[in-house]
């Protein structure tokens, strides 16, 4: 039950994108097409879950025993980069079209602050292995949910005649803000 609560909380209430404002780069970059956004969501889910797991292992089996916590960020980035490279190889093999759609944003998951953020938050909140995994997956699903919703909205906005001053990134950013406003309705739950 606790895990379920943690999961719902990370998906809806403390959404990584709309409430913690992490991972905005892919949100803006890849959400102009629904299928790409969905693919990005899946890829990020994969990376996030895997890196949350791996970073926990590194943290607790390597850094803490050896007393070298000061290497935390460095080693986490190393792990994330490796996981992303691995994911890219997989995506390229399994879905060339998705690979093309995601383009540069796939390797850029490396610098997706959500990924590093979740790994670091796991340490800060002193989550257990399972909790880290749930937190990682919840965050990733929250990220995917927002990506997909946002892509749907942007496909509609793309057809609207937005005033030239706001067309493109401005209206997307405002929409992200409004969406975040909407998600505030879930605050107070849990």
């Amino acid at each position: 039950m606790d895990y379920l609560l943690l999961f719902i909380s990370t998906v809806l209430v403390n959404n990584i994108v709309l409430v913690k404002f992490l991972g905005l780069c892919p949100l803006m970059g890849v959400s102009n097409n629904l299928s790409a956004a969905f693919g990005m969501g899946l890829a990020t889910t994969f990376v996030l879950t895997l890196s949350a797991l791996a970073s926990w292992i590194i943290e607790h089996l390597l850094l803490v025993p050896l007393n070298i916590e000061f290497l935390r960020i460095l080693s986490f980035i190393l792990i994330i980069a490796a996981v992303v490279q691995f994911t890219e190889a997989v995506v390229r093999k399994t879905s060339p079209l998705l690979h093309k759609n995601l383009g540069v944003f796939l390797p850029l998951i490396t610098t997706n602050c959500a990924v590093l953020g979740v790994a670091l938050l796991n340490v800060r909140e002193q989550y257990t292995l399972i909790q880290s995994l749930v937190f990682g997956m919840g965050s990733a699903l929250g990220f995917s949910l927002v990506m997909v919703i946002f892509a749907g909205l942007r496909e509609r906005i793309a057809l609207a005649n937005v005033p030239a001053t706001f067309a493109g990134a401005p209206v997307s950013l405002v929409t992200a803000g409004l969406l975040s406003l909407v998600f505030m309705g879930f605050s107070g739950m849990i």
Partner: protein, 174 residues
């Protein structure tokens, strides 16, 4: 200090090894995109795009030095499929050149068969000392016939709109 260096080195080595393994496991063979583009082009080597032939045009398009709508015989359909393949924004392109059709001024034609021989698509029919005529369905508007005509009796004009080709224009937006 030593531990830190060692840990990072080992970490790097292990991850690198894993990635190398993954790269081999998920290797993808990529086919050269230039061939794909060339296969899509009409292949009449007409040169209306300004390049010596379809192969050169394909190379230029992939390199980004030629616009994807530079091929008049290919028309909008080709432009769109190329734009999708090469990931080009269609709206960023200017107006495409209009496809043209050759027509022979009958009063001037001497039946020299020069155009007939030059046509890459066999779109001109006729025989020696007889009037030549253009088959519009086969003509790509490449102007090769015009270049060789000694009588200057070939002209290139945009395709006329007929009942068969007319269609409703886009309504004005509200």
């Amino acid at each position: 200090m030593f531990t830190a260096t060692l840990v990072l080195t080992i970490l790097g080595l292990v991850l690198g090894w894993l990635l190398g393994l993954a790269a081999r496991l998920f290797a993808v063979e990529e086919n050269p995109i230039v061939n794909e583009v060339e296969a899509m082009l009409p292949g009449s080597q007409c040169g209306q795009c300004g390049f010596p032939g379809c192969g050169a045009a394909a190379e230029a398009m992939v390199a980004g030095t030629a616009a994807v709508n530079c091929c008049p015989p290919g028309g909008r359909a080709l432009t769109e499929s190329l734009a999708q393949l090469l990931d080009v924004d269609l709206n960023s392109l200017g107006d495409a050149p209009v496809p043209l059709l050759a027509s022979i001024e009958e009063s001037l034609c001497t039946g020299c068969t020069k155009c007939y021989k030059a046509c890459p698509t066999d779109a001109i029919v006729g025989a020696t000392k007889q009037l030549h005529a253009v088959i519009p369905q086969a003509c790509t508007g490449c102007s090769k016939c015009k270049d060789v005509c000694p009588e200057n009796c070939i002209s290139l004009n945009p395709e006329p709109v007929t009942l068969g080709t007319w269609h409703w224009p886009k309504p004005e937006a509200a």
